[in-house]
């Protein structure tokens, strides 16, 4: 068939086996992390890369898609877990940050300037991402402080409108000993809501030890279990009109971006960290 035009066709594609059906479980990081504070983005987050055997933060394995590059439109996603806000998301890796020394300490993994996908009929349209930092080596002695710029006041990120921005707001890790796997949302300049890329990070106060990985998160579908143990679901087919594509965005230039399909959890607390049962399915739009 051609691309999906009706909800019935969506269901029929799934019936033909032309889709993706994933029942699984998302392994949470092995530590709760350190709770966020106002100077570290307010929200305590967890990047949940999933699948059994994952060893955070060194070995990450996202949800495996079937071997097709055609669009896979999300029909439904669900999750059983604690009463927190969860999103299915593509989690793109920008690079790494050394928190044990001051100066320009960000190393970008790739050469892309932005990630793109087809949106509203426009092919290769830049996507906007939620910028996040995840501690990969616990900090010690001093809480690191960093900001999205260079020492020489060069730009640190590209905002949602494509502007290069010199960040002035600092991120202060919430404790001298900020735990591994803690994740936080970057503080952006006023009026900015997302990034297309991160290019530079200046560490102004270093810990004796500490390292982080830097991520851009593309939210796909939200779920919020009401109470512990209930199965919350987002019906993208009948519940709204925006079934996102499960295929990852692509780089505008250079090597493919390191990316994981997984879950992101947002909370005001780091407690109640446990494994999340989940499911997601989508239909091949081709």
């Amino acid at each position: 068939m051609a691309t999906i035009a009706t909800r019935d066709e969506f269901i029929q594609q799934l019936a033909r086996g032309k889709g993706f059906y994933y029942p699984g479980r998302h392994g949470a990081p092995p530590s709760n992390g350190t709770a966020a504070a106002a100077a570290s983005g307010y929200m305590s987050c967890h990047l949940m890369f999933n699948v059994q055997g994952t060893t955070y933060p060194s070995t990450l394995v996202g949800v495996p898609l079937p071997p097709t590059t055609s669009p896979l439109l999300v029909a439904q996603s669900g999750l059983r877990g604690a009463a927190r806000v969860f999103h299915w998301a593509w989690i793109y890796r920008f690079g790494t940050l050394n928190l044990a020394a001051t100066g320009n300490q960000f190393t970008h993994d790739h050469t892309f300037t932005e990630l793109r996908r087809t949106r509203y009929g426009e092919a290769s349209k830049a996507i906007n991402l939620l910028p996040m930092v995840m501690i990969t080596t616990a900090t010690t002695v001093t809480a690191p402080v960093f900001r999205l710029r260079t020492v020489a006041a060069g730009a640190g990120y590209v905002d949602q409108a494509g502007n290069s921005v010199v960040g002035t707001k600092t991120m202060t890790m919430p404790a001298a000993a900020t735990a591994v796997n803690s994740a936080y949302i970057f503080r952006l300049e006023d009026a900015d809501t997302a990034v297309r890329n991160i290019s530079n990070i200046e560490v102004t106060t270093a810990g004796s030890a500490g390292a982080a990985s830097i991520w851009g998160v593309e939210l796909l579908s939200s779920m919020s279990p009401i109470t512990v143990g209930t199965l919350g679901a987002m019906d993208s087919l009948f519940g709204n009109f925006a079934p996102n594509d499960l295929q990852p965005a692509v780089v505008d230039t250079g090597t493919a971006v390191t990316a994981y399909l997984g879950l992101v959890r947002f909370s005001s607390s780091t407690t109640d960290l446990n494994v999340q049962a989940s499911h997601i399915w989508g239909a091949l739009n081709a």
């Binding site: 269901i11 512990v228 143990g229 446990n274």
Partner: protein, 261 residues
């Protein structure tokens, strides 16, 4: 009949035919499945050996649509799926012998007013007799979702997987493929004992099993944005547990459905 197209039609069917209510249990196998890895479906799944067979139906009826389904388990942290299950092929490891005895192709089903040649939404390689084999390479030759034959799915299974271990095949299908209609051959690179069966699934209901309480699903079949499957007489329903590390997979299932004409 589009019996699930409206609540009124469900009530009308119940008034005319009575609903079908079934409660069945599956005792614990006492053994956790052998976990898969990046070459064998990524996850740790178990097919429970206790299955349920749809009974015969009255004249003028074709089967049942599930309207409610609940599960009780002793606790744990895993997912579960109740699904229509179709045997697509069998491999006896000793002698590397493929058999199609009892096997079928995925069925043709009515879906949203059309007759659809289905392919599996989930396909599992299930160890039905424990393997004696060191990291065996399992090669399944299949017909894909578009009807193309001679496609290959290659997986490297863990060493000596225990009985009831199930390995998800979709990540390892041939490039461009998403489903399986039929299996024409299965072979293994090494091993001296064991049996592997390939099953194609059409999901009826998803469940999540909580860590602390015996939990039933609060998502019912009619609420799902995927096909509502006509369950026809003599078809098999099976329970698959996902990401289950516990040896206790005891469960009880309650299924309610209405007749379709």
């Amino acid at each position: 009949m589009a019996v699930i197209d409206s609540i009124d039609q469900i009530y009308a069917s119940i008034a005319a035919n009575e609903p079908l209510n079934r409660l069945w249990t599956g005792g614990s196998t006492g053994v956790a499945p052998t976990a898969g890895n990046s070459t064998s479906g990524y996850s740790q799944n178990l097919r429970h050996p206790s299955v349920w067979t749809m009974p015969s139906v009255g004249g003028g009826l074709t089967g049942m649509y599930a309207t409610a389904c609940n599960i009780w388990c002793p606790g744990g942290a895993y997912t579960a799926i109740l699904a229509l299950e179709y045997l697509l092929g069998t491999l006896t490891v000793s002698g590397n012998v493929f058999s199609s005895t009892g096997a079928v192709s995925m069925p043709t089903k009515p879906v949203k007013g059309s007759s659809i040649v289905t392919s599996s939404m989930l396909t599992f390689a299930v160890v039905t007799t424990a393997l004696t084999a060191t990291t065996p390479v399992l090669t399944t030759t299949y017909t894909d979702q578009d009807g193309n034959g001679s496609q290959s799915c290659v997986m490297t299974l863990p060493t000596n997987p225990v009985t009831n271990s199930a390995y998800r095949m979709q990540p390892h299908l041939a490039a461009g493929d998403t489903g399986v209609r039929a299996v024409s051959n299965i072979s293994i690179s090494t091993g001296s004992a064991g049996v592997i069966k390939i099953y194609g699934l059409l999901p009826i209901q998803e469940f999540s099993i909580d860590t602390t309480v015996n939990r039933h699903s609060n998502l019912q079949p009619l609420k799902q944005s995927r096909p509502q499957w006509l369950i026809e007489p003599a078809e098999t329903l099976a329970m698959y547990f996902g990401e289950i590390a516990t040896a206790n997979n005891q469960h009880m299932v309650q299924l309610t459905g209405v007749a379709a004409s």
